[in-house]
Symmetry: C2
Subunit: 251 residues, 2 copies
Amino acid sequence: MRAEDLPEVRRLPLFRDMLHANFEQLMQGSYAQLFPAGLELIRQGDPADFLHIVLEGAVELHADWGDNRCTMAVVQPVGTFILAACIKDAPYLMSARTLERSRVLLVPASDLRAIFRRDPEFAVSTINELAGAYRAVVRHAKGLKLRNSRERVAAYLLKQSRMAENADSFILGVEKRLIASYLGMTPENLSRTLRGLEGNGVTLRGQQVTITDRAALAAVAPPDRLIDGPDPGGATAGVSLPPPTRVNPAP
Amino acid sequence: MRAEDLPEVRRLPLFRDMLHANFEQLMQGSYAQLFPAGLELIRQGDPADFLHIVLEGAVELHADWGDNRCTMAVVQPVGTFILAACIKDAPYLMSARTLERSRVLLVPASDLRAIFRRDPEFAVSTINELAGAYRAVVRHAKGLKLRNSRERVAAYLLKQSRMAENADSFILGVEKRLIASYLGMTPENLSRTLRGLEGNGVTLRGQQVTITDRAALAAVAPPDRLIDGPDPGGATAGVSLPPPTRVNPAP
DNA sequence: AGACCAGATTGACATTCATCAATCAGGCAC
DNA sequence: GTGCCTGATTGATGAATGTCAATCTGGTCT
């Protein structure tokens, strides 16, 4: 892997506190790889061999059952995914595919398991990472069960707004059909719902989202820290909600 | 706490491998308490002070948003819950209430955090517990997003059947409205769906479930290890699916 | 036994949501 | 620029699910 990536990886909450020697060893067995867009990195059901870390690009985690497919999360740099499967040495519960050309660091699961057994700091980091990931999924499940699709969309927009640098005008970083799948609805339904939300404090033009009346939007779906997160105590990497969005220059 | 409970707690995957001295210390700060049925043990949003372990009875984990409420899990002996919140020292994402008279062991979160920092075995156990809990929620979310209500009900029955001692005839251990909420549907819808499933290999009389044609039921919702679990490598305690059911004597 | 009560069921109805099909719009290759 | 291709949108429709209200049922208490 490129030497210049090391500091960034080292700075991840998961690796930040471990002993240097152990970090070195972990990285020695790892390798970064460049993948084209649309490539299936892992397939659900396969044995978990590598912890994946997205260095560049974006990766979708999705699940399939019969003919149905749904997006569970989008991981962006620098985020890790499928940590739990590696730890349990169990089959992946989700598939992963690149949304764009992406560089991914692959860390052997066996090394991982060996090292947190002898590096207490790393063990604690792993515990925190997993606890954060767990809470992220619980929040996702809560959103699915407690909110209808209109409310989920409104809450999603508000959350993206919070994460954007310019909270009042940002662009959706992902295809709408992916957002729809993430929110547990069809693209058609999302499209109509978005249109229905104009007049509730949002304006849309393509990927462009402008919040004109935050209170009105919040009235559709009162934001709740216990659903929309994040934990007060810092961002949860790993399986997170769809990507932070970039600011966009005024037209 | 009662001395006779100690061995059972000690046998939990979470505590099995830790040093005896540390287990002792952990238990010294803990206390078991008997609660009546229907009592709210914890309320979502409150700070996480104690890891909870159900020794007797049954506890429902549920979430609220506005006027909506949904069941996220039912924990039965001997199972732990809200480990993640304790670890992150963050607010509970779910509320908990006793479904029946229950005895619960309360372990101070601060002790927990202190001890897994110095007991590597306990740290590893915690990691495994969390990884299992994470995967359980992911499976739950997958079920919600990939299956319609009819399929969820069929899969639920099949799963309960697998967990029962007599797989072909068992009783639902929980109120139906609770099951409905867990499955993300209304009690009315569950009732109709259950009726609709007669003729697909199931017979119902009250809480009594009899599977007459497993294949027919499985045809409604093909079981999938990646949704219905469990992990091949052993039962995941903590936040698990609704309770194992007891066998029932033939009428 | 009888009254009572929470939960379950049923029916009628409204709403949400998915599906199918037909455009529409924007980006990219040539 | 033109053609094409994917994703987005829109419309029409039906299926799935929620809601409200009215029983029904099983168990508990007295």
